[in-house]
């Protein structure tokens, strides 16, 4: 009889702990709901004052000027331009370095290189921004006299270097998951290392590699400090990488740095731009996860 209440108490304690842990797990759901609610609330408010048609068709973005225009295209194109340059650097370099680490490198090299790449990935983006503005841009100006002090090229290249470790490590994981038997079969037929790499490993790990590429694009789109520092803050509809532009993220920083009163149209624009940013990265992330999940199904 004495045991019963005690164990009942213990049971209650167990339940209490479980409830607390459940709450901890729910925080992540609340975060997502919070993000969606906050962005949606201000976005709906914004579109009460600005027509959604002009938002997607106007070619000028001047919410901070007296003559206000709200066309998202300059910010979108700026984002795409910089991400594109970053991908031109990160994708080939990331793919080749992962191929080397997975198929060629001796264990000793891997043990040194992988942690260094991880440290490269851990450097704060504001430091990369410093690097882009004060090191890469002056360097590029020696070869490209037309390059202005703020431009898309230099932050794009630096962003590519920043994203390289991400592409490299995720692609390498995908390559490592390709069964040995496939490689051995190819070697038995007389293939060289290079042939195995390009005709067996890359095709077999294709969805995993693609997933890492897509994730890299999503990272580039959401990257903020490098562009806020080195790309200038001039929303401009151009594909010219030599002139100052502005990305969606840099615009949010620009407004946040100023004294924009709550409730004004300028204040709401950062949430609208945030919504665009959130949606585009969400689509890319979901796509990347789908591809990775498919990859796992095939080999496990």
């Amino acid at each position: 009889m004495r045991l019963l209440p005690k164990s009942f108490k213990a049971n209650k304690r167990e339940r209490g702990i479980e409830l607390f842990l459940l709450f901890c797990a729910s925080v992540s759901i609340l975060t997502t709901l919070g993000i969606v609610a906050v962005l949606l609330f201000e976005t709906v408010d914004f579109f009460r004052e600005v027509s959604i048609v002009s938002f997607f068709t106007d070619t000028e973005w001047t919410p901070l000027f007296a003559q206000k225009r709200f066309g998202i295209w300059p910010l979108l194109i700026g984002t795409i331009l910089i991400s594109g340059i970053a991908m031109l650097v990160a994708l080939p370099a990331g793919l080749l370095s992962s191929l080397y680490l997975s198929e060629y490198a001796p264990d000793r090299v891997r043990r040194v290189v992988k942690p260094v790449l991880e440290i490269l990935a851990g450097i704060p983006t504001v430091v990369y921004g410093y690097f882009a503005l004060l090191f890469v841009t002056p360097l590029l100006q020696k070869f490209l006299p037309g390059l202005s002090g703020f431009n898309a090229l230099s932050p794009g290249i630096v962003m590519g270097i920043m994203i390289l470790p991400l592409v490299s490590s995720l692609s390498e994981d995908a390559m490592q998951a390709v069964p040995r038997s496939l490689r051995e079969g190819a070697y038995a037929l007389g293939s060289t290392n290079l042939q195995v790499s390009f005709r067996i490993v890359i095709p077999a790990a294709f969805s995993g590699i693609t997933a890492s590429f897509i994730l890299a694009v999503s990272r580039a789109i959401g990257e903020t400090m490098i562009v806020a520092i080195a790309a200038g803050q001039q929303p401009r509809l151009t594909a010219n990488p030599l002139v100052p532009i502005e990305t969606m993220t840099a615009y949010i920083v620009q407004v946040s740095m100023g004294d924009t009163p709550v409730g004004t149209l300028e204040y709401k624009t950062i949430f609208v731009v945030g919504m665009m940013l959130f949606l585009s990265t969400l689509v890319l992330n979901v796509l990347s996860q789908r591809l990775r999940a498919r990859f796992r199904e095939v080999y496990r």
């Binding site: 702990i17 901890c24 797990a25 925080v27 290189v113 400090m225 993220t249 920083v253």
Partner: protein, 298 residues
Amino acid sequence: MSSQSAALPRSAGARFWKELLFQIVCIAILAGALLILALLLTSVVVDGLSRLGWEFLTGYPSRFPERAGVLPAVVGTLYVMLLTAFFSFPVGVGAAIYLEEYAEKGGFGLGWFSRLIDINIANLAGVPSIIYGLLGLAIFVRFMALGRSLLAGALTLALLVLPVIIIGCREALRTVPDSIREASYALGATRWQTIRHQVLPMALSGILTSTILGLSRAIGETAPLITIGAITYVAFVPDSLLSPFTVLPIQIFNWVSRPQAGFHANAAAAIAVLLPMLILMNAIAILLRNRYQKRHSQ
């Protein structure tokens, strides 16, 4: 037959050169990445060396670059890191324990709920950090009226690093073999007793690794704190949870954004203060992880 045997060495030669060329290209790219890292570090040290000193570390921001210091930013960074750890560590570990030890094993019969959380965490990990800043601005700064304070900044960063901590802790918990849990249950331990006395001690180094990695990400973050309105000119050390604050990355951003070369040197010096902190944290985390990976694979 003779023509074939003549062709064989030639094509084998071509194959050899192709192989070699490919390896050289790969090594060049990797070496390039490492070289860039070295270049970045040396250029920062060279630029900042003239400014780095005791006065810089204990000084306050100033209009004159040669008199400016980073004390408020360093203290702010330490406070933000401690507060972020205070919020994100228990919640992150708790969420990981729930998902690994309860949800899978019939906790409240909410299997669908834990799958939802699963997908949700994976997506949150990919949300750009500046979006967390917008969330913090609307919820913590405005709605909860915490203002542009230390507390609002730390809460925002805690939400930002939560996915990193949860994902890492779950992996650590997964490395604990089920036989340990079953042995504990067989001795009459409850589920929580098993977790508290068996599972958590075994997973501890993995849990610490992911927490350190999460925090090192938090102290390098700039964008979300700018969005919630951390101010760049703070001439005092924060003295309460609700006082305005600045952190090193924001101070660096502020100095980089100015046209004068004097401030650029300050930015380099501030980077030279921030980077060793970060690299130390990352190195500890990576070492810790490699050690426990080795132990588990044996």
